[in-house]
């Protein structure tokens, strides 16, 4: 089955879709990249070819390899062209109705054996699949940002996904040079769920005055061997994004106390100190450090 997959369709040419298209092309697949207008697609294409060219300049790949990879990527604004794809990865904005309507169309455009993989971070794969006539072929394929650098892919089996579709997606992740893990369709999947206490307990320790944020970061790094402490990491991710993730997981688990968000973090978000991107979060950043 997996051997027959030659052409991958990627929906959405943003941060994730662009990265996925790049990785797919560099892994030897033909790529059909879809977005809503040609302007966006042109921008995405020049960004992707820029990354690939830079890899060639740095000597990570040969000039020939770079040229071939870039040539493999074709863009389109015409969804029915997806009919020619053997595997489809969707990375459009995180809106349920948008994704659902797209899947309904894809359901009629593509052959029933073609797998439809969604890159959703927070929506239910099952709910996206539910609007199609062949929900068994809809799975989750959760890449991490930046896609070319991050090895992990969470392969999510929805409640009614076919086992075969999950297995093919696992193989596909491997062919893209990634390390797949298989997870059930639960809020946050593995990483965004299991990681919550890293931030939430650190925030509680701060709220209780056990130590200041810099000391907590230091103990987590130097005592525990983590690369970054929780507060440094929140600054990198963006306090608003990190807070929203906690709120979303908390709500999705029907207010499970383990995931209760932090009031202190909410106040920080309200204050506009969002982390590196705003020049100040828990820490202050000079212009150069952003």
């Amino acid at each position: 089955m997996i051997e027959n997959i030659k052409k991958i369709g990627v929906l959405g040419s943003g941060t994730m879709g662009g990265g996925i298209a790049q990785v797919a092309a560099q892994s030897g697949f033909d790529v059909l990249l879809y977005d809503i207008n040609t302007e966006i697609l042109q921008k995405a294409f020049s960004k992707i070819s820029g990354f690939i060219n830079r890899a060639a300049e740095k000597g990570k790949i040969t000039r020939d390899e770079a040229d071939i990879a870039i040539e493999r990527i074709i863009t389109t604004t015409h969804l029915p062209n997806m009919a020619g794809c053997d595997f489809i990865i969707e990375a459009v904005p995180e809106k349920l109705e948008l994704k659902q309507s797209l899947y309904q169309e894809l359901d009629t455009i593509t052959a029933p054996k073609v797998i439809l993989a969604t890159n959703t971070s927070t929506l239910s794969v099952t709910q996206i699949a539910s609007v199609t006539k062949n929900p068994g072929r809809v799975v989750g394929m959760h890449f991490f940002n930046p896609v070319p650098l991050m090895k992990l892919v969470e392969v999510i089996g929805g409640a009614i996904s076919d086992e075969a579709a999950i297995q093919i997606t696992v193989e596909m992740a491997k062919r893209l040079g990634k390390t797949p893990v298989v997870t059930k369709d639960v809020p946050g999947f593995i990483v965004n769920r299991v990681a919550r206490p890293f931030y939430l307990e650190a925030l509680r320790l701060l709220e209780e005055g056990v130590a200041d944020y810099a000391t907590i970061d230091r103990l987590i790094r130097e005592g525990g061997g983590f690369n970054m402490g929780p507060f440094e990491l929140m600054d990198l991710i963006g306090l608003d994004v990190n807070f929203a993730a906690s709120v979303s997981v908390y709500e999705a688990y029907f207010h499970e106390p383990r995931y209760r968000p932090s009031l202190l973090q909410q106040r920080m978000v309200e204050s506009g100190r969002l982390g590196r991107k705003s020049g100040r979060g828990w820490y202050e950043y000079g212009e150069g450090e952003k």
Partner: protein, 268 residues
Amino acid sequence: MSNVWVIGDGTPAYEIAKLAQNAGHLVFTSFVDEKGNPDELIYEQPRWGFAPFTRRPETNPDVIIEAIIKKSQKLTAWRGYAVELQKKLTDTSMLVSTLSASATEISAWVARTKMVPRQNIIGWATLPPMEHSSAIELLPTQFSNERVLNLAKEFFTSLGKEPVIIKDCVGGVLPRVVASLINNAAYALMEGVASAADIDIAMKLGTNYPYGPLEWADKIGLDQVLGILEALCETYGEDRYRPAPILRQLVYAGHWGERTGCGFYEYL
């Protein structure tokens, strides 16, 4: 070089004893069983590779490092040793593990045995594996005096761990954060979200953790992790810390991790 007496029941005690010995201290080690009574069986466990240590200090120790996980064990142990020693160790400093009780609470019990005055007591906290860590948490109580504080700093510095002072509490910083991560991963495993191996791989590749939470639990000792969580649960009275039933099951089954040959993973 000091005369150090390490008393404990698991991996933290073992690691501290080994580090102290490597740093040139004269180390004596005592292990206690699940009830807190001296246990020679644990001591003889080949996995500890512990043969060079004698059991009890011949003279009054300069430092006692207490690394017992459960509160009930701590109580039994201190009553037992107080009776056995039959003397007051007024010059001995006592560094107590705060993984399952605050240093203030432990001081109160020890003070009752009159073995060591409470000014000589200070808390410490960290997690195994300690070989790569370069910082350790020190938790002074309102009674801890300068002398014990300085001695604790010197002792941990001699082990290559820089002491960092935090407020006295249950579980310190690193143990509380990591035990919560482990508990959350254990729930995910129990609920069949993914396999143990996939959970660990995901956390290492997806968020760059030094160990997967479940393999980390096996290194720390599941008994120790459960002890931290039970103490947090009791202290805060919050559901947030309730230990995953799978963790308890494994501990009941004697699968405490690497040390016993089996935990979330099997070790042959």
